[in-house]
Amino acid sequence: MDLSEDAPSAEGGGAAVAVAMASEVSVYFTTKLPDEFRVAPDPFLVPTKLARYGLSEVINHLLGLDPPRPFDFLVDDEFLRTSLAKYMVDHGLTSERTLTIEYTHALGRPSTRDIDKQPDWIADLTTTHLTGDTALLISGSYDGVARFHVMSSSAGDPSPTPAAKGALTVSSEACIVAVDSWSGEAADGSPIELAAALKNGEVRWLCVDPNAVESVEEHVGRGHMESVECVSISADGAHIATGGWDNSVIVWDNTSAVESLRANIKAALGKRSASETSHSPKFTLKGHTQTVQDVCWPQAPGAFQLFSASFDQTVRVWDTVAAMPVCTFPCAKAANSLSVSPSGQELCTAHEDGRVRVWDIRGGNRPAGSSSSSASSAVKVDASSALALTHTYTVHRRMVPQARWNPYEPHWIASVSHDGCLKILDTRATKLPLQTVSLEGCKLLTVVWVSRSVCATGGSDGVLRLHELQHAGGAVNQQDDE
């Protein structure tokens, strides 16, 4: 490494890096990585011309890593994408200021695996936890079949090993547009609930035994006058919200299914109820003037507010207790997809103009360092709140049908587009995506996070793909640092 000749005194740690440069800045390196990647908490003098690559060399040198590993650097909760000098100029900082640079492992190029080839387009994907290590990946296709895959991951190896579990025909007549799943209190082998929105205006939710892949109970909700476009099960499973082309959001009561799931459903196992239970809407929320494209419950357990995105360029928040609209946020363009961050404080919407927009529900007054705090409590929205645009990612060239927050990682968003690209966005990197997976000749329609670093995509070629994000190991190659 070139740096070792320049900075011999850095050997042994603690001493400032004496680099013979005209303009230098003293920095603190902090990290949340394990101890083996931790450097001494002393100020270092680094040349301001260093960018990601140079800083990565410094860290590698300090740690004495062999082979070297690439790192990514955050200054003030923002990824460093330029040289330190340019960053300081852009933010009006002088070199007298001591920067605190946090470093993490850089994200490497995701490895893509084809899991399954399905005969029809995959419309939507959903996952649910079965046990601690296994997750169920359910894909809803346009042929009306939901296909199940078990993702089992051992403790040592974070990458799951997928195994096809089976297929369940939800509807033989209509195609599935959206699916959502819910598992009760995670009990081994207990049934889960799967909700599917159908093009023929029906909403079906089934209690499915994941082992045998057969439905135990079937519920049909008829109330939409047009195709249903989206479905979402609330965090406690008691409600199912759907939206569709009839511009309405309908909330279905799901308590009976939840109760039967809570009661020992094993007794019911084996004797599949042939008859389906028909439901009428618990209440219908009208207010959108155009198609409701996505509904989303916040993941916090006690959340009673429902978000819906529509073609009428608004995001609306509904109070599901009072069955009342809370407020309406304009969101600049017709939204295809809506996703609430795990902290419940931010929204991301996907638009047909190839953009992913991230909004702050709290009106933009984000207190510093709040990303980790109060992660579990849902943000209360009232009529006076406003939606503040925090980022706009112009990352896709075609329509973006879906963008989803990583429920396990508060900063990551996965977005897919008709141009066949999967982009991993980070809210701390304002412009560029962290990583890109580009697939030729297929439209990606849906993406779902299976685990913290694994997401699955489906699209027009019917191939279910697993994209595993991994920290780039091995040599720091020049390509990582533009």
Partner: protein, 855 residues
Amino acid sequence: MSGRALKKRGILPRMTADTEAAADDNDEQAGEVLLNIDDPSDEEGGESDENEADDNAATGDFVMDNERDDVEYGRTELEEESDEDEDESEEEGSDEEEESDEDEDDAEEPSDKDEATQETDEPAAGEKPTKREKREKKFVEMSLKQMRQERRQREAAEQEEEGPLEGEQDDDNDEDEDSELYDSDDDADINRIGDVPLEWYDNFDHIGYTSEGEKVMKTLKASEVDALLAKADDPDHWKKIKDMKNQREITLTDTDIEVIRRIRAGKYPNPSFDPDDYYIPPMDYPDKIHPMRRDHPPKARFLPSKWEAKKIHRLVKLIREGKLRPPPPPEPEMYDIWGRNITQETDTPKGRVRGPPPMPAPKMPLPGHAESYNPPEEYFVTEEEKAQIEEDGDVGTVAQVKPRDGRQICLRRVPGYKKLILERFERCLDLYLCPRAIKQRMNIDPEALLPKLSSPADLRPFPLAVSVSYDGHSGMVRCASLSPCGQWVLTGGEDCTLRIWELKSGRAFQCITFKRKVTAASWNPRSSTDLPIVAVATEECLYLLTPTLPTYTITPASPPDAPSLPTEELMSMSAKAEEVLKLRKGEMADGEAGGEEDAEGSDGEGEGKAGEKREIKWEEVPRRSVLGKHGVRLKIIHEAVIHQLQWHQKGHYLAVVCPLSPAPSSQCVLHSITTQVSRRPFRKSKGGQIQRVSFHPSKPWFFAATRTAVRVYDLKSQQLLKTLVSGAKWISSMHVHRSGDHVVVGTYDRRLIWFDLDLSNKPYKVLRYHDRAVRQVALHGRYPLMASASDDGCVHLLQAKVFSDLMQNPLIIPLKKLQGGHTVRDDLGVLDAMWHPTQPWLLTAGADNSVLLWT
């Protein structure tokens, strides 16, 4: 004069003499003297030498006088001074002697003069002395003076040697005279009349005035006889010169004559002058420009230069190649008198160009005779004319030329003119305001008069880029249509397939293969509510079908509290459509029998016959057939290829256009879906083939576009309301604005024409943005957007804002050129375009088999 200056003169190659004396009266005499010199000098050379000493004083006089150019002055002064000084008698005596000399000279003169005239004609012939002569004369004077000085010095030296005994008085006299002469050198003429001709004094006995104002009397006798006598008396008469102006006689000394002789011989006037002293040896001056050497020039100077030859060769080559041309002839100088530059002073390379002088104010016409206070008789109205005026009452012609009866005898009787001040003031006002009126010309930038167009970025939303592509067609996509709800996309193309896609994902939900090319397809406007019917035209066949989409199978759930809904309410939409599309034979027959109507004004002639002859058959497609399984229900065969299918807004009527049909009445057919009746609205096609039709959105009007014009019919009263003349050659497409007051027409000759029905029958705007034929124009239902698809592969987006108030004209602003999506194939680009019903999205179908959604 210094000796050095004289020496300098001496080296001059040609001797000069001053000229001024030549202008004097005694020119002739001077000339005579000069002429006469030759002879005696030749003959009496020795004599002149001998006389030298005797004539000292006279010579000095002469020299001095000549130096001053005025011969007489010095002499007169001398006379005066001598008078004053001592011996009047002597002087008088000398005068007398001189006079006698003159007499002698005069006597001798004629013979000499004759000789002289014979010998040397030239100086005498020329009345005015030449320049050369004047110079010579001047030089002679100078030389004489110099010589005299030298001689005086010599004599002085001799006297010193010999002793001052002899002729002391004379010497003193000489010296005195000399000093006087030198003193009088600078004095002016005696005669102070100046340069005036002396003839002026011919009639007087004086010839001028002295400086004291005394007359200069004519003392010299100028008669020829006197001259002859003097010549005879005095052998030295030839030496005498008469100065007529100053009235004195000057005798040339021998020295003078010698000088003159030498000058005439081309020698130096001073014999002691040695020209060799003035030889300046050649020196090499460092800054010399002319060679001082006499070396032989080198050979190279006589040989043609190699480099010149090369240069000439190069120039010849350039000229032959045409690169070197003679300078163009200068352009004729043109003056744009109305241009701006002419009135301003501009600095051109040629110099300052001044504009024409300002235009003078027009003058008032001069008053004629009729306006005189006392006009002539013929300007009065005669009695006959008076009578005629009274008779005719026509005052104008006569009264204009004849003055009023206000004749005054004299000017002082003329009363004051009352309007004088007023008219003068108005005249002054006119003149004063005139330049101001010129200044007040329009000085407005024409751009400023144009309305300010807002930038396209402020007019968002409008489509910017391709968002969704619908892939699957294997032939040209001829038509594209969006369902009224905006969820489904209908396309048909030359691969004989009709496809229905989901808008958002681009997944094909239905694909129906026909036997022929799909030329037109259209959703029923009521598809989203109760009649999901699609009309498809495959060349001559029109099919009506209900798409088997899952959306349309939704059965409304009966609310539990109101179980008694009519069965129709509980039917799914596709079921309702099926009900409508069931073939009703009896009704069809009834409708056909009486359904033939003519908007052109029916004459009812042979209606039944014609109707039966061109019967439009509604056929049922068997349900078990391939098409029937896809929902195709009815089939209607037309006479020619169907170009357009246009639904009425309420979804009951379908207008079909087949321009190529042999019968003019079949070019446009109206089908009623609910009653299954077909009508031909036009018996004969006025204005050529019908290209496009459209329904008015609210009124019962019908727009039919022929190749060149759009005709507006009232369907109720069945008459032509308007004819919109497009000025284009071939209309390709038409779209009626949702307000119904505006019609947009695209033409194959690349134009986009906007008609405002409230304004006129002529186009409100003609836009020519496309490079190729315009295939389709489309107006958005909600947004003020307009799109035009063209064969150049581009779609142009325009803002077409229509104001609700009648005061403002529609505002059309170009927004964006959508390109890069479709490629031109076989000279065909974008074939169809349609706006999304609710979103600012545009669906386009291209000849490159692609269907794109622009957002």
